[in-house]
Amino acid sequence: MSTGAKPILSMKEAVRRFAPDGQELIIGGFAFSDPTALAHELIRQQRKGLFIMKTSGGVLVDQLVGAGCVTRVLSCHVWNSVGPVPAHCFRRALEQGKPHAIEIEELSYGAFTTALAAGACNLPFMPTTPVQGAGHFTQRTFLPEKFAVVENPFGGGPVCVVPPLKPALGFFHVHRADEYGNAQLFGPAGEMRFAMAACKKLVVIAEELVDTEIIRQHPEATVAPGFMVDAVVVEPWAAHPTDSYGYYYRDLAHHALYGELSRTEEGFRRYIDEWVLATGDHAGFVTKLGEKRLAELKVRHRRYW
């Protein structure tokens, strides 16, 4: 939350500095721009007791849960969207307490979006989707005040409202950033603009670092002004196996591979050993994917930016 140049950190260093055991953090992406490279580094550094907020958990949250890094999840959806097949680790944790039990708190995507909007705008609450009668209205695990109902002061009955959500820390995948932290994302933005602004501290994970003059060419695509950003990580392919609009496509085969291996605890361990631990860092992971796969995934049409 300041102007001027920001630290440009390796993923290792960013995780070390910002995300100790027990950290509360929101992770960006909505089954696209999921910074899986961050999850891998959290696993490599053997984080414990994390409180992860993520709208669409996907394979990323599944891996963190499977690796035993997480004790709390706030989410609206956790699944492997290719197939689709289950998020097996997530299921094992909730159904069988393996590798250990986790606490889950749920919102709908709209409620999550509006709670983040309230947090971003520093408003005391925000009307949201009517969800009275839904399970996530009644069922409250660790956020007893995740919804309330107020009378509409202008008449017309009960209104479901959410409190502002203000994550202590956010890690968000973006397409590009400059040294001041100005961060740009093209394509659909989901809830990301609000989510980034709701964070007390914010780290962006960019596919590429660019000169500020490049940022100025598309000022509408800046999803976080530099003054919101605390550090920048430059990590190409950080969102693999999800999509990065204009950069690379969803890696369906890798989703399927993970889906297959993670059916068993042993298979999941193998995936982590082979793809996360043995690779050492994300550059190693990318090398393991191989030139051929990368070439297939690369978006081939010319970007306009």
Partner: protein, 260 residues
């Protein structure tokens, strides 16, 4: 080869889609149905997704989910979830809403969260995503359930992820849901269900080879069937051709298809 029940479900669902409408399409089979409709009789539909994409034409590649960004290639609009869920859906601008409902009860309540007790589920499912919004806010809500097993139609779901009529239409209205929302239709391999004014599901149409007794046995409560229920016409040759092409395409895109 004559059409499987699953293929007939896709055709029935696609036929429910009128050309020229704005559709909010949820994950999975609804996406396939909308794509089939677009190729057949509804080339001018405009599809919106929860992440903020507006897809106004057939994409070259079938997206594996609304967040598979091949859905955004050539999109006319890329906005965000506040736009999609509230400015487009909640505002009433979306004319039809299509949501997958793998477990659905007598009053159209959908469970995609947990079977068994929430804190110790027998089967844990993905959760809401935007499904709650589709069912809370969407107009002309059409549910899709690819199963005809009784387990998929309990009398009351263990967990209401996407609210239908809750305990009945009155309860839904009392809690502040807007008029004009709530499920209208359910498409499944047997045929079509509708909802009466109390919010209860009834069998409204069946495929030709399905006897009313067989259909009724698929539901976990004594479901009502209209005396003069409709018998659905079999898929036409062009419909079946498109369905099979799209299923082959979906399979290439790692879609898991039901056993034939």
């Amino acid at each position: 080869m004559s059409a499987t029940r699953f293929e007939r479900m896709l055709v029935t669902g696609a036929r429910c889609i009128a050309d020229g409408e704005v559709l909010f399409v949820g994950f999975h089979w609804p996406m396939l149905m909308a794509r089939i409709a677009r190729r057949l009789h509804a080339p001018n539909i405009v599809i919106v997704y929860e992440n903020g994409i507006v897809e106004d034409r057939l994409t070259p590649t079938f997206p594996t989910s609304p967040c598979d960004l091949v859905a955004a290639e050539g999109a006319t609009v890329c906005a965000g979830s506040l736009d999609a869920l509230y400015m487009w859906l909640g505002s009433g601008r979306v004319q039809m809403t299509v949501l997958e409902a793998p477990i659905v009860d007598r009053y159209g309540n959908v469970n995609t969260t947990a079977v068994g007790p929430y804190s110790k589920p027998k089967v844990r499912l993905p959760g809401s995503g935007g499904g709650t919004e589709l069912s809370s806010l969407g107009r002309n809500l059409t549910l899709v359930n690819a199963s005809s097993s009784k387990r998929s139609y309990p009398e009351r779901v263990d967990y209401v992820t996407s609210p239908g009529y809750l305990g009945g239409a009155e309860e839904r209205a009392r809690l502040g849901y807007k008029p004009g929302t709530g499920p209208r239709t359910l498409v499944n391999p047997l045929g079509l269900c509708k909802f009466d004014e109390r919010g209860e599901m009834y069998l409204a149409a069946l495929h030709p080879d399905i006897a009313p007794e067989e259909a009724k046995a698929s539901f976990g409560w004594p479901i009502r069937i209209e005396g003069g229920y409709e018998v659905l016409p079999a898929p036409a040759a062009d419909e079946l051709k498109v369905v099979r092409e799209e299923l082959a395409h979906a399979k290439e895109r790692y879609y898991l298809l039901p056993e034939a």
